[in-house]
Amino acid sequence: MKIVRILSRLGLFSLVAAIFTLLTSAFGKYVVSPLPDQHWQLHRSLTPKIGELPEFVGEVMLIAFCAVVGRFVFRLRLAPPPRRKYQPQ
């Protein structure tokens, strides 16, 4: 019974993903193809390069930066206003 529930949920996620895939595919048809980049093969290596670790650290920092900015924005814009204390007349 539990497996049926899990499978049905996975099916629902797949359905939503399929809709997004169709939308992406349709969007791709309207995008103009850029000019081929001759340096493409030179820039892409097949194997990992440990020397590029700072780039990975930079990406982690970029996500952290987005999180900090988001935290400020959400706090400022989405935090409920402070409740006023009830003052008896």
């Binding site: 995008v31 081929p36 990992p48």
Partner: protein, 176 residues
Amino acid sequence: MVAVVNAQTEIATAESTKPAKWRLKFMFWLDAALLVSVSALQTLHFTGLVLHEWLGLAVVPLILIHLLFAWSWIAAETRRFLTSQSARARVNYLLNLSLFAAVTAATYSGILISQRAVPALTRSKAATELDYKWDKLHNEFAIIVVILTGLHLAINWDWVLAAGKRIFRRSLRGRI
């Protein structure tokens, strides 16, 4: 007698909270793995093309597990979305939906331009010419994923902090 009953109750409580603790720990480490994976996927020079493509495919089941664990929230918020809801809950819902859409788009475009992983899985030959259009779109979707991941982290920051505190405090206590 009272002491025995108390002890039994304590054991029962500990037993019932065990799945919750396991769930929290699992979710925390799953999310941490997803965060590291998203960062690694952005650095093609660091991972190399082969690892990049296989990692991109491996992330898909992780995301599905992440979504399955959040099912009760997704179901409740979807039902409540059009009715009474706070601005925060609405923004959170739209943010999560956009993140799912961006991840789907990045995965789909990644599959289209795959040179190693997808040809290996389907036992087909990789295209000799790169589809520059989908390559460009793949990079753009990936940037959107990074930004939305940061915002997703921001809006769930309280949960991350609380879960981290509980997990690390417990493991520190266990060592002492």
